[in-house]
């Protein structure tokens, strides 16, 4: 069995097919290959759930001079996160680009990003992690600069600048880890075993550089300036992937630091404080936004802070919760972005001040947005509820009352989101007219995302069974 290699080959074949075939077949080909990849992920998922893949890994020699091989691990992180990337990618391909503008570029970039995301989540060594990290960043960069709208060129510049600052820090940190572990190795499990011997001063340098790199990508409070522009000016598909998957690169990275470097644990309380500040910063900033996409962007930032709380809490609850949070919030936020994109397509606007009574013209989109908000705010039977429950139980155990503080940011986020929904989506009194009647294929995407959110919300064992 070579699951990960098969997934990547499928996605790579998809990219080739999209580029080589005619423009008309771009979405079909992309959807086909993304579905194949998703099917393989689901098969792998069930293999894993039934416990048939303990210690499963794939390894192909790559750069033998540095002892680097293409290593992919199936573990409690990589499998669910690959599932997230697979679902969001497929949903974006099907529903995200109704008129198939620049079909070749958009579809191939999504597949490339999905490949990078799955590679990153499954990679067993830091070298591969870095390579897939940058591939993902560049794919999203083109989604903003070439496919985005509005002030996209400027946003793309800012995004590229921040992201490559992150990757420069990441590269530095990775090289330092490599040369300071006793057995020089990029292998994550080897580093976990040998990291205690790294001198404390060096560990601090590594920790700070990696932490800033991942905080930029999450994004967390002082490093979030790229976020608004990137989220709101990217194409709908780009926003879905940035909010749903790319921000999880950073969260997963911080999780890896906490697993690898012993010194991280001593700094956990400080990071918790950053998470608290970030959560409330995002929540309060979201209130004033008129642009729905920006509102969703700040929701995503608040959720990132909550995931960060779970990671810092560690322990079984914290890690499980962070894991669950990444998948649940990722699905929820991409559902929100997809429905906002559809609203923008149909009504020609994404501004709360102009939108009224969307439910009248586009019921499925309005209800999907509502469901996305449920999923974001952690209403029971959605997956995010379980995530919040686990994260804050864990945080309470580790930090006491202080750990539960970020929970209140969700209340603020919920307040303004429900206000927005009430005003723009369900106020049928003075509803505005649809501008464009062409229908997109967004309904299947809504169904896919909603189904996954409900499934994970009702049967937590689907992901918690991994432990």
């Amino acid at each position: 069995m070579i699951f990960f290699v098969a997934i990547m080959l499928a996605l790579f074949a998809g990219i080739l097919a999209v580029i080589l075939l005619d423009k008309r077949f771009a979405r079909g080909a992309a959807a086909l290959f993304a579905s194949v990849a998703l099917a393989i992920i689901i098969i792998m998922f069930f293999y894993y759930l039934t416990g048939r893949m303990v210690g499963y890994s794939e390894s192909i020699p790559y750069i033998s001079t540095f002892g680097i091989s293409l290593q992919f691990y199936a573990n409690e992180f990589s499998v669910p996160l690959s599932l997230l990337a697979g679902i969001v990618g497929l949903a974006a391909i099907i529903g995200g680009n109704p008129l198939q503008e620049r079909a070749k570029a958009s579809n191939s970039l999504i597949l490339l990003f999905e490949l990078a995301a799955i590679g990153l989540f499954a990679s067993g060594n830091l070298f591969l992690f870095f390579i897939f990290w940058d591939v993902g960043i560049i794919a999203v960069f083109f989604m903003i600069s070439c496919l985005g709208e509005g002030n996209n060129l400027n946003s793309a510049k800012v995004y590229l600048f921040y992201s490559l600052l992150a990757s420069a820090l990441l590269l530095f940190g990775i090289l330092m880890i490599y040369f300071y572990t006793p057995i020089r190795s990029f292998n994550i499990s080897t580093i976990e075993a040998g990291a205690q011997t790294i001198p404390l001063g060096v560990q601090e340098v590594i920790f700070v550089s990696l932490l800033i790199a991942f905080m930029i990508k999450m994004p967390v409070f002082p490093f979030h300036s790229w976020m608004q522009g990137a989220y709101s000016d990217a194409s709908t598909q780009g926003s879905m992937l940035i909010g749903g998957v790319l921000s999880k690169f950073g969260a997963y990275g911080i999780l890896l630091i906490f697993l690898m470097l012993p010194i991280a644990r001593t700094y956990a309380p400080y990071i918790l404080i950053i998470a608290i500040v970030s959560a409330f910063y995002a929540a309060f900033n979201g209130i004033r936004k008129d642009d729905l996409k920006r509102m969703a962007a700040f929701t995503s930032m608040a959720e990132s802070a909550i995931i960060l709380t779970g990671v810092t809490a560690l322990g079984a609850f914290g890690l499980d919760g962070a894991m669950y949070g990444m998948v649940a919030f990722g699905l929820g936020i991409s559902l929100m972005f997809l429905s906002i994109g559809s609203v923008e397509f149909m009504y020609g606007s994404k501004h709360l001040s102009t939108l009224r009574g969307i439910v009248k013209g586009a019921a499925s989109t309005a209800y999907s947005f509502l469901f996305g908000v449920f999923a974001a705010t952690g209403v029971p039977i959605t997956a995010a509820f379980i995530a919040d429950l686990l994260i804050f139980t864990g945080a309470d155990k580790s930090f006491g009352v202080l750990g539960v503080v970020p929970l209140f940011s969700i209340i603020i986020v919920g307040a303004y989101l429900y206000y927005a929904i009430n005003k723009s989506f369900f106020d049928t009194e003075n509803s505005i007219e649809i501008v464009r009647y062409e229908t997109g294929h967004w309904n299947p995407s809504y169904a896919l995302l909603i189904f996954s959110i409900l499934a994970l919300g009702i049967v937590p064992a689907l992901i918690l069974g991994f432990r």
């Binding site: 020699p61 790559y62 750069i63 033998s64 001079t65 540095f66 870095f130 390579i131 940058d134 591939v135 560049i138 083109f142 600069s145 070439c146 060129l153 793309a156 510049k157 590229l160 600048f161 490559l164 600052l165 990757s167 420069a168 590269l171 530095f172 090289l175 330092m176 490599y178 040369f179």
Partner: protein, 461 residues
């Protein structure tokens, strides 16, 4: 059989190129260019043959054919071939071909040289021919040509002076380790000679502070000449640096290392910071090429085998990136597209060239999975593994700074203002496609090239 092919073939090719250049002057230029191409292809074949058969011998006291030199022979022949394809629309093909042949044979001389004197002659040959090459094509090119000519003449005299300084210790002039007389270890005379060598070669290699001529010359010359300067001339100077400081001054690497470190840092910062404010893309690439010289110098400063591998890798990577990029810039320049502002909408105007240019720039910036990243990864890891953490950190900071100006061009290309389509001619497409293929394939699977390089480095150092 193979031995005699290699033994007689390689000198014969070089000799034919030297004389052939003159013979075909002003006669049916295009055909003579094609003939030059044929000789280059033969040189590629010979180099591969010699590399595979693993010979190591010295000819006439001036050529050394071993794994290292034969690998570089084929590599530079490929680079020269690419430049030749770019030059196919040259207005004065006869003259161009003559100068090109001289530069090519000079390059092969340097790569194969086993004597300091032949190295010097070859560098002289190259710089004289290069100055003429820049001059060719109009009165407005007189200034850069004279600049280069004067500076390189001074550089050559400095080189001769340096050779004269080490003459008492190495009468054979061979590129072999200096006989380390106990009284001479670390002697100031040797150090002075080393410093003069650095000065002499820094001019061609574009190291700070001897690179002030570079941007003017690169911008002023014709596109394919710039590709030649940046892709071949500069890299040849680096090969000469490798020969002199890792073979001749082999015993003094430790003492010279801080000097190279300093020059590397200054060169990187100079190139990157000045490139940030450029508006003309060709000039920007000229400064970026200076900063790349700084990265290459990191490996030389490290001085280990790993550092050498890394430097060679980056030399090869940058050659392909720069020839591809200058090829595209040349073609766009011929259509009046010069500044970052003019590049707006290139993705729409010509998708292939736009994507290729973006990837070449990203590769220069060191973004995986492209070849430029692997080169930088090797360089930085060689620095960290020798404990030069600050050097690696500065290198990483610089490659981050470079994102600013590469990103500016890429973002500008993504602009969606409607403009007419541009149709590229097949020469540019071919060169771009080859360079793109190389940076993608080697970037995704670098192990074969790394093995070849470490094998060839073993054979000489």
């Amino acid at each position: 059989m193979i031995h005699s092919i290699v033994e007689y073939g390689i000198p014969l090719v070089i000799l034919t190129m030297v004389t052939g250049g003159f013979a075909f002057l002003r006669r049916r230029g295009r055909w003579s260019m094609a003939l030059t191409g044929l000789f280059l292809i033969i040189a590629v074949g010979m180099g591969i043959l010699a590399f595979l058969s693993g010979y190591d011998f010295v000819e006439f006291g001036i050529f050394r054919i071993n794994g290292f030199s034969s690998m570089l022979l084929s590599f530079f022949a490929i680079a020269l071939l690419l430049v030749l394809v770019l030059a196919k629309d040259e207005e004065e093909p006869g003259l161009f071909n003559m100068l090109f042949c001289l530069i090519a044979s000079g390059a092969f001389f340097v790569v194969l040289s086993y004597s300091l004197l032949s190295l010097m002659m070859a560098i002289e040959l190259i710089s004289a021919a290069t100055a003429l090459m820049i001059l060719k094509g109009g009165k407005k090119r007189i200034e850069p040509a004279v600049k280069l000519f004067v500076i390189s003449t001074v550089a050559i005299s400095v080189f001769v002076f340096a050779v004269a300084m080490i003459m008492p210790y190495d009468l054979g002039f061979a590129i072999a380790p200096l006989q380390m007389n106990t009284g001479l270890t670390g002697s100031s005379l040797i150090m002075l000679a080393a410093a003069l060598f650095i000065v002499a070669l820094a001019v061609e290699a574009g190291l700070f502070p001897f690179n002030i001529w570079m941007a003017d010359v690169y911008q002023g010359a014709q596109g394919h000449v710039t590709a030649l300067l940046s892709g071949v001339n500069k890299k040849i100077a680096f090969i000469a640096i490798l020969y002199i400081f890792f073979v001749v001054f082999a015993g003094y690497t430790k003492i010279l290392s801080p000097l190279f470190e300093l020059i590397a840092i200054l060169t990187m910062f100079f190139g990157n910071l000045v490139a940030m404010v450029q508006k003309d893309v060709k000039r920007m690439l000229a400064y970026s090429s200076i900063s790349q010289a700084g990265y290459i110098l990191i490996g030389i400063a490290v001085g280990t085998t790993l550092g050498l591998d890394a430097s060679l890798f980056q030399i090869i990577a940058h050659t392909f990136m720069t020839i591809g990029a200058f090829g595209i810039v040349m073609w766009l320049g011929s259509r009046g597209i010069n500044t970052v502002e003019d590049y707006k909408g290139l993705f729409q105007r010509n998708g292939f060239v736009g994507v290729a240019f973006a990837l070449l720039l990203l590769s220069m910036a060191g973004v995986p999975p492209l070849m430029g990243f692997v080169g930088k990864f090797l360089l930085f890891s060689s620095a960290i593994s020798s404990g030069l953490i600050a050097l690696a950190a500065i290198g990483i900071i610089n490659s981050f700074i470079s994102i600013y100006y590469y990103g500016k061009v890429i973002v500008s290309m993504a602009d969606r203002t409607e403009k007419g389509r541009l149709h590229a001619d097949y020469g540019v497409i071919f060169v771009t496609a080859v360079c793109l293929l190389v940076i993608l394939v080697v970037g995704i699977y670098p192990q074969p090239l790394i093995s070849i390089l470490s094998k060839s480095v073993m054979s000489v150092f």
